[in-house]
């Protein structure tokens, strides 16, 4: 047996007693044994299997594997759904606001098919979501309502409240003026402590905080619906304010008395005609200066 074979067998701890004697006789026996013994000093640190196992198990137990598998993606999905839902909820429960600018009119249909005509420079606010429970809306300006039959329909303004069951009526709310005209059915108007039921043709007018009795309305629609503004014994300044709204311009009335009562109408489609319609009866004339109209008394 060669020296190399002996060493190999020794390395594999596989020497028979005889072979071991032969190995002992090798010249480098001492060196090999010394090397081998010295190597023992390089032994890896003690490894405590059960202690290490406890540590690993405590880690694997600390997180639940199953929940980790489906909970994370589920949470992601849930988060997205929550965002979508809240966005949807937020947008659908938001109040709907409809506004008109000066010299603009619009028609809208409410969720219950009730129709609203909105006059110039007015706004209504209502909530689509809550509409089926309570037909409430807020009006600022003037609007004509054709209400479908159903539960009570309420129009709130800064001046007062109008409640109906199903009818056609016009609500006009301007500075110092609050007017409700009933065209069909019946309307209840609450103004401060005052409450009045209007029958078709009845008119409820508050001017500068005072109730003014007027005669019955003969028209079946408010005139502004057909692009005309009609006034009956109203101070001239209300006429001018309405004129400004319909034509989107400024009227200078410094030189005239705007508290005279005016009865008459003006059209919304023809500025010249309309100006004549409001000035001639009061013996006035006018000057057009850029976007301003100056009213002056006729000599």
């Amino acid at each position: 047996m060669t020296r190399e074979e002996l060493i190999l067998k020794w390395l594999d701890n596989d020497l028979s007693p005889q072979e071991f004697e032969a190995f002992k006789a090798l010249e480098d026996y001492d060196e090999l044994i010394k090397l081998s013994n010295s190597l023992k000093e390089f032994k890896a640190p003690e490894y405590n299997t059960s202690e290490e196992l406890e540590m690993v198990l405590s880690k694997t137990r600390s997180y639940s594997k199953t929940s980790n598998n489906w909970l994370k993606p589920l949470l992601k999905v849930a988060a997205v759904l929550a965002i979508c839902f809240s966005a949807y909820y937020y947008t659908t429960t938001l109040d709907t606001i409809i506004e008109t600018l000066a010299s603009e009119k619009t028609n809208i249909e409410l969720p219950d098919n009730s129709l609203v005509n909105i006059n110039a420079l007015s706004s209504i606010v209502y909530n689509k979501k809550k509409w089926s429970n309570s037909r409430d809306l807020k009006l600022n300006g003037e609007a004509y309502f054709k209400v479908e039959k159903g539960s009570s329909f309420t129009v709130k303004t800064d001046h007062g409240k109008v409640t109906v069951l199903g009818t056609e009526f016009n609500v006009k709310q301007r500075e110092n003026l609050f007017e409700v005209v009933c065209y069909e059915g019946s309307v209840r108007v609450d103004y401060k402590s005052k409450s009045k039921i209007l029958k078709p043709g009845d008119n409820f007018l508050i001017l500068d905080g005072k109730y003014i009795a007027t005669e019955k309305e003969s028209t079946i629609n408010p005139t502004w619906i057909t692009n005309e503004s009609y006034f009956k014994s109203l101070p001239f300044k209300f006429v001018l304010n309405e004129f400004e709204r319909q034509y989107n311009l400024i009227i200078n009335s410094e030189d005239i008395d705007d508290s005279v009562l005016f009865t008459g109408n003006f059209t919304h489609d023809n500025l010249e005609q309309a100006l004549k319609a409001i000035t001639i009866p009061l013996n006035l004339t006018y000057n057009i200066q850029s976007n301003q109209i100056v009213l002056i008394p006729r000599d």
Partner: protein, 171 residues
Amino acid sequence: MPKNLKNHVCEEALFSSLFNKHSKNLHDFLYYKFGSSLNPKDKVQDAFIKLWENCSNVSPEKAKSFLFTVANNMMLNEVKHQKVVLGFQKIKPKNYTSETPEFIMEENEYFNKLQKGLANLSEAQRTAFLLNRIEGKKHKEIADMLDISTKAVEKRIYGALKKLRETIKEL
């Protein structure tokens, strides 16, 4: 054979038995291959945790090679090709009462040489050689552990011995 009945290791009892069987070998393998600076104990834990996370995909027969591969890769990710230095137990048992200072000095010198010699071996040589010499593993056991042939183990160990002796003589 019970191990053929299962194709996953998701049971804690099975997992524990795998741990008892392989963790020490894995630890020694990592220690002799990469030294102590990269904390082989932590790598063993990490490898077993990886095994637990992937337990449904690993059959018990594949677990050993999974563990060794994962741990080895984790080590390689950290290793920066520095020389592996194996620490030797500095405090030696005082068996000899008649140690002369020269003897102690010679001994220390010899250990330093040995340390350098081990650092000079290739990873494969050092791992096989030290598993054999220090842990007393038979060639066959090492071959099973590293998934190589007995012949290759023999070659590595013998090569390591030769190279080590040469280095010691040179120094």
